[in-house]
């Protein structure tokens, strides 16, 4: 599988390293050339030597997306730090380049839910955190006595 990941922060870089270790072909796009440091964390070789590829460019730039290989991507991950950027490029990947598997990170639960209803695969870390924290708070509390 060929995976294109746009946005190389903590999330994007971790997914990239994981997919590469599983034997997939991985291409990463970020506007910051220094972001490769996150991909090479704990490694003695460069990201390219490890087998990955990296393109410097902004997410909305079609030329950068083409250079990063969007036309032959089997999967596309939108993981920049901007919700709106992620939602726009995910739709570009889906509608213009017909990438079969597009996943989008959206921090705002409301936008995440609405775009999921529109057919995008959105993942909302905020919503997940809310649920986990809520359950963790509840776990330390005795179950309220139900009144029959």
């Amino acid at each position: 599988m060929f995976v294109l990941i746009v946005g190389c922060g903590r999330v994007g870089s971790s997914i990239a390293r994981f997919m590469l270790s599983e034997g997939h072909e991985v291409s990463v796009l970020d506007e910051d050339a220094e972001a490769t440091a996150l991909l090479e964390k704990g490694q003695h070789r460069s990201w390219e030597e490890l087998g990955g590829s990296f393109t410097v460019g902004t997410a909305l730039e079609i030329d950068a997306l083409l250079e990063a290989g969007i036309e032959r991507a089997d999967a596309f991950v939108a993981s920049t730090d901007g919700d709106n950027t992620n939602l726009v490029i995910a739709q570009v990947a889906q509608r213009r380049f017909n990438v079969p598997n597009v996943v989008v990170r959206v921090l705002d639960p409301a936008r995440s839910e609405w775009y999921r209803e529109q057919g995008l695969t959105t993942v909302c870390p905020t919503q997940t955190a809310i649920e986990l924290l809520r359950d963790a708070v509840r776990a330390g509390w005795p179950e309220p006595e139900r009144v029959g």
Binding site: L60, I62, V88, Q91, R95, A110, R111, W114, Q118
Partner: protein
């Protein structure tokens, strides 16, 4: 009319003022707290603080009853999202988006956001208007209405030079709406003569351009 304007920079602020002056109801949404404090002094309850790409902020501003949403922030991705959500989620009839980087126009189009206003494009067209060129200059494109207005220079040895408008043999769907000559313009009749060096404004249906341009340019391959 109730208009929501997202982004109260120079463009958004002045738009809000002008629309209020014309008697419309307007809410300007601004996400920068310092900027908000400045505009709120003048606009008072017509200004709201918040990120206009967040659904609850749009809902608080009353997007459900808005007749028009204008997204004029400095970020194209925000303007695209705001207009897409306004139209598709809240059923706002009319949206207008500002495009900061002309290269992003294709993203607005792909996601069905139109019309798009790009200051860079507008200035570029004005510059092109002043520069000698070959071929037509697009002055106005109305894709939904299926109309465009183009400007053509009449070449020295063009078939049109010296002809009357009615003799140009222009196809149906094409109309010469004005002739610019010696720094002034006029609306021609069928009797008006087209001269070499004129600039001619033509309104036409998209796709007819190729049937119009030969009349105004030099015959190809016949240069003496």
């Amino acid at each position: 009319m109730y208009v929501i304007i997202v982004g109260a920079g120079k463009v958004g602020w002045n738009l809000t003022r002008e629309l209020l002056d014309k008697g419309h109801e307007v809410t300007a949404i601004e996400s920068n707290s310092r900027r908000y404090a400045t505009i709120e002094e003048e606009l008072q309850h017509s200004a709201q603080y918040g990120d206009g790409s967040e659904l609850w902020v749009l809902e608080r501003a009353g997007i459900e009853r808005a007749d028009m949403v204008v997204a004029v922030t400095g970020d194209d991705e925000d303007n695209i999202l705001i207009c897409q959500v306004a139209r598709e989620k809240y059923g706002v009839e009319q949206v207008i988006a500002r495009c900061n980087n002309p290269r992003n126009v294709q993203h607005f189009e792909l996601l069905g956001v139109r019309p798009v206003v790009s200051a860079t494009d507008l200035i570029l067209r004005l510059i092109e208007h002043e520069v000698p060129r070959y071929g037509p200059l697009h002055l106005l494109d109305l894709p939904q209405e299926k109309l465009e207005i183009i400007e053509l220079d009449v070449a020295e040895d063009a078939p049109a030079a010296g002809s009357r408008v009615q003799d140009l043999g222009l196809p149906e769907g094409v109309l010469v709406i004005s002739i610019l000559r010696d720094g002034s313009g006029f609306v021609p009749t069928g009797e008006s003569e087209v001269r070499a060096g004129d600039e001619v404004l033509v309104v036409l249906s998209p796709g007819l351009e190729a049937s119009v341009t030969p009349a105004f340019s030099s015959p190809v391959g016949q240069a003496a």
